[in-house]
Symmetry: D2
């Protein structure tokens, strides 16, 4: 209940501060028999890792994950999987200046009010560094979903500040440091980021995550709907301020005849629902967007107060991403995979005996 466990059947419980000895998590509920080694996790960790381009923080963490349990002779055993990443590049001195200050838009003040104490080094527990464990755990879920069920979880940057992508070419996503699926926008993004760095400012971003190859039937009405759990998962990522499923906020101005996804025996004719009806997956692609706010650590001074309530001017000089959204794509994928994995296990528990006499509707007519 203290909030560091995610999921109900496939659970991830994590620990670790930005500048502590290590980060770790325990993945419980993984089905036995899944081939797994550290390299499976490392691939996604490397996609998230800082210091890979000039557009992300220059903090260099090896971010080398170790599997400490739950895998025997190369396969999962059904027992909990302990994961560990040791912190190697801590530079705690960078942060002592802000020990008594509440940086605007950071969690400094709220942690202090909640706990009466905080580990101020690099944001402590509130640092995005915590998301490394999400990515590691999510990689297990992604592997299981893909290998056992044919579900593929992928994501891309759909908007960087004012620059929205116009086409989605999945092959392009890994070709640039932005996870941008539109080759035509990469140069504009580079120019924008270069300018931003010069100003010392930061910017928001929008990420889109998609799960393809979905089976119908995942999601538990009424409170633990698949879309509700996805909203929870994505909103729990640092800096996220909004989540949409399918048409999202565009639904507000749509008419019922526009929004409803009509069906033919050949398949659904559209996907405004984003793959969920009544909180249960339809078998269409699951599509979710998330909005990330601009990085809060800026070189441009901002007004704030200190722990005594006195006015201070805050300037951040440490190493920070000018757009936290850029590295959020693998994190969002991980969280979506964790939700799906949890619901796969939940669906099996209660509905293992269901006889499916109703034909499956193809996700898209004509495909």
């Amino acid at each position: 209940m203290a909030g560091n466990t995610f999921g109900k059947l496939f659970t991830v419980t994590s620990f670790g501060e930005s500048h502590g000895a290590a980060l770790g998590c325990i993945v419980d509920g993984c089905p036995p028999g899944l081939p797994l080694d550290a390299a499976d996790l490392q691939a996604d960790l490397d996609r998230r890792k800082p210091g890979q381009s000039r557009y992300t923080t220059q903090r260099r963490e090896a971010d080398q994950v170790k599997i400490l349990s739950g895998v025997f002779e190369g396969k999962t055993t059904g027992t909990p999987i302990g994961l560990l990443i040791e912190n190697t590049d801590q530079r705690s001195k960078d942060y002592s200046a802000i020990k008594d200050q509440f940086r605007p838009a950071h969690a400094d003040y709220t942690y202090m009010q909640k706990y009466g104490v905080r580990d101020y080094r690099g944001g402590g527990r509130s640092s995005a560094r915590e998301t490394a464990m999400r990515v590691a755990a999510g990689a297990i879920a992604k592997k299981y979903l893909h290998r056992q069920l044919g579900i593929q979880v992928r994501g891309y940057l759909s908007q960087l500040g004012p620059i929205a992508v116009e086409t989605v070419d999945w092959d392009e996503v890994s070709n640039n440091p932005f996870f941008c699926p539109d080759a035509g926008k990469v140069a504009a993004m580079e120019a924008f980021m270069k300018d931003l760095n010069k100003q010392g400012d930061s910017v928001g971003a929008k990420i889109t995550v998609v799960a393809s190859g979905m089976p119908p039937g995942l999601g538990e009405p009424v409170f633990d709907r698949l879309d509700a759990d996805i909203a929870h998962a994505l909103m729990s990522i640092n800096a996220v301020k909004g989540v949409e499923i399918g048409a999202g906020f565009e639904s507000v101005a749509q008419l019922g005849t526009q929004h409803r996804d009509e069906i033919t025996p050949q398949g659904f004719l559209s996907n405004h629902a984003g793959g969920v009806l009544g909180g249960i997956s339809t078998g269409q692609d699951l599509v979710a967007n998330l909005a990330l706010k601009p990085t809060s650590s800026l070189r441009i001074p901002g007004r704030s107060v200190d722990v005594r309530g006195q006015p201070v001017e805050v300037v951040t000089t440490g190493r920070h991403d000018p757009c936290v959204g850029i590295r959020a794509t693998p994190i969002a994928e991980a969280m979506l995979a964790l939700v799906l994995m949890d619901h796969v296990l939940r669906q099996r528990g209660q509905n293992a005996e269901v006889q499916h006499q109703v034909p499956v509707i193809p996700p898209e007519a004509g495909t």
Copy 2:
């Protein structure tokens, strides 16, 4: 895990189908000593009740709630509160025509794929009728929050189809059937709905919910952040497709210097965060938006398939709201109140002894 319980310390577990014998819920974890009677719940139920204007379904339910336990001599005792609403206006015959059809944008197909069976009468468990119990339970939370902690939870319709409100006058919200806070928009909304009814179409809506008088410190990082739990709660409401906290999707195009809410000893200078930093409340107003899709039940025929996979044309002739968003305001308030109540209890559990030596920052400078 089958999804019908909401919350962790202050829990609501509900049951009931649209056309079954009754709806009910159990509220567990309510602190003892709260003065409570059925009238406290009825007030919000009446705000949600159908049949109150020409813009909502003409189904007439008395929606009279009974308290069956947990209250003794007018006060809560700390034991579970059983609530019951008997269904009085069921008209099950209306629905037999769609027994074998999957209505587009409805949960018919997904329930069938999940459970292999469904109560097709009026949507069964997937009907928005289920939200009556959310409102009843939420009214308990609202009363506790307001009476014991001074937290006020309110909501309004911020957009109806293309018509967005421009001013927020809380006193106006109860003056019109739309929960519209902008008197200047009511006539346009009426005209729009009249036209929509004529066409047999439906439309989406946007609702805004706000909690004022918030204490700092509510919310459990890292997974059960206050904003993540709010996203879960609001996305679990029927027809909701998007949730924003504070600036929401506007954050995408904001610069860090625009978004960050600077602080002076006199208070926060803006509230783009929507009252949450690092998943923990700041003490500013909590502000969330939710997008509701258009009602799926339309008089205009739509293409679909039946349980055998054969093409059918679906027309809905029952009694339905042309805009489900209109009645969603009290539901959204209820869900927000349930989340806050849960986090109040969670915060007390772990952090009861915290000495608050840090001055509280006023929610707004100059107020």
Copy 3:
């Protein structure tokens, strides 16, 4: 977390006080497709019902249960099952005398210290009347386990005060008001109870519950072992002070060579383990004993204090069982069934794909 929900995947959440308007519960997670009607539940409720013999309380409750949801056209739908029993024989006046007294061995004092308030009528929430809903919910689990998996859950009184049964004849259990499986002990029990009634005293009892037809593999190491969950379930029944699995406390003085259940290809050679090894079912009969303390409500005066801390003499004149253990057999069966049902669903979730290449060991050699 307020303690009124049992189970994790197959959950029962209950409400209701002894002298309130009604008792009820919500069973969530029941697989769809199970034929179910109220008569299935009533049979076990009638076994538990008071007023059936001179050895149990003369309070007469119809204890008629209604199914309010979750069943459609005679089968479960996978949605929550709402159950209700209205209280018809409340006689609240009987209890006003003890309003300000703390009866020894009752929960009066502890509820008052916990909640600062209590519904003193008939014990309120702490009354054994609450167990009616456990029996109703357990009947659903029992039916599913038996019908779908061939698991039979049964129980009997193994000791009444000083009188221990010597033989177990399952057919005899329903032939006498004690749930006694040994026809040769019934007369002695009758004589003992008659004498006890004359004295105004009460006595303890031991119940044994058994699940036959068990599959191997149920139970989740390390904390949610099957035996640990059974211990929790049985100890949560009013008046229970001890729980044993298999050899139980006899294990203390056993040698390893005595206790270990050796195995041959024809089956296990003994069952000191009581059907559980490492927290996981072996396929042998699950066997558990529970000890129930004597009824606390006595006609013989006892010393206590009142709400002001002043000494009082307490005499109970209401209607009470002289041995609460007698009616506990169906309650214990219900709790065991609920645990098994929960673990059936849990096992399916994580281990649905396990290929069982290891031969199943018969529960008993030679059977």
Copy 4:
């Protein structure tokens, strides 16, 4: 749900196999501000550690615990506490002989049936080695309970095979390798164990755990009673087959007038209840007994089957405790402390505002 998390508000999630790289756990929900360092945990780990006397396994593990997070400048911060013990003495070769055998009374067969795979080295996850993390986590709870609330959790060996202790001298417990509180029985225990070792057999034991300085009001009726949660906790320890609260199985033959703990203004006159009424603590000492079965690993051959169902003779040659009960005292203390800690936080959540107007009854009259 896969069973590796204990508690609801104060949670322990653990991982690790007997012969894996490391054991670890995450303690979530610890209140901030508690002074804590590794030495606080090490003291209890050392009490549990093998290899300390000839009566326990000669496996030598340093069992050196590291705190990886959640503590900053010597105090807990409210964030999750990551704990790690690296396995240093693994000797995996010892166990390869039993790779394909199911040792009687061990979890070999049940793990295989559950998961289809098992880490056979030293019992893998089913090894008692897992309890090291319980002891480490429990030490945090013990410290908090003692320091903040004055609750002291202690235990002793109350019976070793046929030898029952007759007096309880708390000071004696740490003077002998048995945790025996009766100096007069130590020599007999030594002789018994020496003889047992010669034979190659093992024996059971009974442990008693006590919490003194209890506040009234802990425990959540009806399912999460304090005694029910204690039963769950203690039964979840390896080899435990029975749990009693207070008078336990003696209650069966007691009369109501014997069992009920009468009360005077000077205090309770006896403690058959073991400190719990209606599932809620009374303020008297919490007293629980647990029965542990004999060690299953014996040098005396036993009959069993292998993974192909063929008969085999099993002889264990590894390093094992001839009485697992001896080292169980610190484990049982840890589990009791974890339950109490959880209920302290739960009680605070819901009942923080309760005004205690009822005088507290002293735990014992005359003390």
